[in-house]
Amino acid sequence: MKVTRRQFLKVTGATAAGFALVDLGFDLQATASAAKELRIKNVTPTPTVCPYCASGCGLVIYAERDANGKFVKLLSVHGDPDNPINQGGACSKGAAMFNLREIYDERTGEQMINPKRVQKPLYRAPGSDKWEEKDWDWMLARIAERVKETRDSSFIHKEKLEDGNEIIVNRTERIASIGGSGLDNEECYILSKMMRALGLVYLETQARI
């Protein structure tokens, strides 16, 4: 099988529009035979950016997909040679990003989902000493109810100013939100918007700590 670097890195999917990886000039065929042909069968590389420090190094996710393009498993994660910030480099954390999703079993060497990843929503009842698995609908509905209960019972709609006039303040001080610096911008944005619409003023992220 002769694969050029360019074909190798061809990315599918609508969001990849405008994606142009430059030729790296290494001979994949040699790499392919050395790494056994199976390893790179049906591989799709996808560029991402490291989730650790804020340097913004590019990483490429190499994944195996089936004939229908459905994701099967990770093959490896490498520094993105096209990203001008790191030009292919990765520190120990970036190089370990594979483990964020998948690991090799210590004894059998079998590739598996990282067992520390939580795969189902979990619920802990007041006073309980265990987690219970729940479905998404149940969880989201119950959270929405809790939010409404707390908001409505603590809501300050108007306040009196020193000059005697009233001001609409629309806030609750009994709900807080922290974190978000590991989320994408679009996620941070809707989080910020929703929390403020609910009237939250205790709204903080890791920039503060």
Binding site: L59, L122, R171
Partner: protein
Amino acid sequence: MTNHIVDLKNTDCALIMGSNAAENHPISMRWLLKARENRGAKIIHVDPRFTRTSARSDIYCPMRSGTDIAFLGGMIKYIIDNELYHKDYVVNYTNAAFLVKEEYGFEDGLFTGYDAEKRKYDVSSWDYQVDEAGLPLKDLSLQDPRCVFQLMKKHYERYDIETVCKITGTPKNKYLEVLKTFCATGAPDKTGTIMYAMGITQHTVGSQNVRSFAMVQLLLGNMGRPGGGVNALRGENNVQGATDMALLFHIIPGYIDSPISNAANKDLLSFIRAQTPGAAKLPFTNLEEFRALVKAGFPNSGFKINTSKWVISLLKAWWGKAATLDNDFGYHYLPKRDGNKNYSHIALFEAMHRGEIDGLFVNGTNPVVGGPNANKEQEALTKLKWMVSVDLWLNETADYWTYQGWERTVKNPDVPTYTPADIQTEVFFLPAAAVYEKEGTAAQTGRWVQFRWKGADPVGESKADLWIYNELGKRIKKLYAGSTKPQDEPIVNLDWNYDDEHGHDDIMKVALELCGYNVADGTPVEGFAKLSDDGSTACGCWVYCGAMTYKDGKIIYKTQNRDNKDNSKTGLGLYSNWAWAWPMNRRIVYNRCSVQPDGMTPWPGDEERQLIRWDPTIPADPKKPEALGSWVGDDVPDFLKPTSPDKPAFTGPFIMRPELKGCLFAPKSAMKDGPFPEHYEPWESPTENIMNKQNLNPATKIWEPDKQGTTDKYPIIGTTYRVVEHWQTGALTRNLPWLAELMPDMMVELSEQLAKEKGIKNGHKVVISTTRGDIEAVACVTKRFKPFIVNGKTVHEIGLLWHYGFKGYATGDPANRLTPHIGDANTMIPEYKAWLCDIRRA
């Protein structure tokens, strides 16, 4: 960063202070090493400990934790005394020449206007003298005793080398070597960069530490030029973006103050008046009149004259059709906070501990390991009625209620423990998808907003945070649907339409709203200069406006740009066609400074690092060929292209400031603790302040007076830091077998001298204690720490990793069980980096 990571290669000298760049931002070091290889750049590392960064530096200079202002104040004095400042730059681009009010003064560590009871300043005397038109008076010769330059000179007279080194514990010869080497970048043909991280900000004087950097860089003429700048190496992959989106109590998206419950914020017009510099006393009674004033321009406003456009476009993005001129565009829907209250992280946990908070959302963060005074913050969580944790794993915060969560290696009757039965919090854990199992953008430390494509499916039922919050938003809206209560309008009227035709969340819809669209046809707004305040544009965060464009009937998200050819003609590594940088794809902010005041001449000997220039012979807009004169160059200028020599912005590089100049003196309310940085000791310090009569920053809030450790019980300075194999609270690394194996144990580093004194050997288990708690760690006895001689006395400092907790493959005690609840006077960032402790064998 005012500059960006790749730009580090353009420097002549790097001062790294409060950062271990080689370990925590390894790629930044690569570009510095290139600068050394290709330009002979010098690298200086100032740090309490000899680190991997020190090992790669030309000069390593030790400094006691918490004494940065003494160190940098001495540098300011050295620059002035030896006339090493870049004179043309200082006169034209900074406020050095501005005259300050006669009432302003400084004595015994206090600036004028101090109220000891409230621990607050009345800042009215910290201001410029003005003429009849309200414009600041200046003395361009810098000789007037009331000009900023002379006041600054006087302020730092006390910071002589002798005194500075007594405070910092730095050997004098090393200090001098640093001064000589870095201050040489004041030459017009040289630039120097300053790189910092949390070692600078996590102090009761953190903001003034950064201010000191800005002052040094302004004096040396290093701002707005390649190889220069004040460069924060930020710690979380999208902490920049989270800040831009205002996941912080004090701002709304785009760095606009969040409204306060007071008369100045009572309606939209009042808010705009308060938020627009120079507008306070202008005669207008409605938006239309204000618009006319903006169009004509008014003094002391700067680029923020456009604030109304950003605010109203934001309101339009949030409340869509319900935001109209008649209801102040929904301004009243915004929550208004109590102006006398602080809502920052420490305050939030103090309130929670008092039982004042019922519900908490925890979004990929872990205060049980990462919060200051973590024992107290964990106890605060027990007071919650409900908590929602969104994460990849059950981190220590999600599992705070478990038996394991309350195990303590050292028993201490002052630290309460609980059992699950004691804790009535209802906890919801929502499994989130990992970074490459979803798509979206992140703003890295140099403001490049890069798209991350989806390379794998989420594991199990885990979901992207976007899906989670979109779904939760829809459910909350449903619960409120039909309500006619005025207080529910912010939710009922919230514009929340992010689903595609199949009912799936569509990230491009969110991105379009955040970057801005024209209300009439939904096309992207091509830049924030095109935003309006009449409700015709909607934009969720104006600094991101311009990241989207419309081409051949398709919306292009420029964050997806992947052309990695360097567009700069002189090889500066701008990479302007790779991703997109805010604002307006500008790679180096304040870039007006890279050319002389005439706008046309490069700094002598520095032709290659000129980013932009004024060309009077060509038109700015090809459609208007008769209007000659345009800014040209490889970077995007900080102002509109046709800004001609008759406009104030032509010689005003710092466009976000009302005076358009870099502030050596921070006027009015810019800072809460003084217009000039002044040295104060950390809250817990091994010594008295010999620079002035105040030990602690007089303007910072003391939360727990009874928890202040003193040298009789706790004589050793403690500090915290990270290693390359782990990240932050370790949730994203201690759960990874490869990384857990590389760095499996919690450790504390201490000097050979202290180890000998305490009978501790390398590898021993030791206990470290403060007034907040105790932890156990493995001792690493090392030459990397050396005792300091402070005011003639020997003082020891030890360093702890703060990555560990009780979950994951690698476990250990959290260092933050030791750190205090006290923070910076301006930001309330906790003082993690300098506190008092003791150490003994376990």
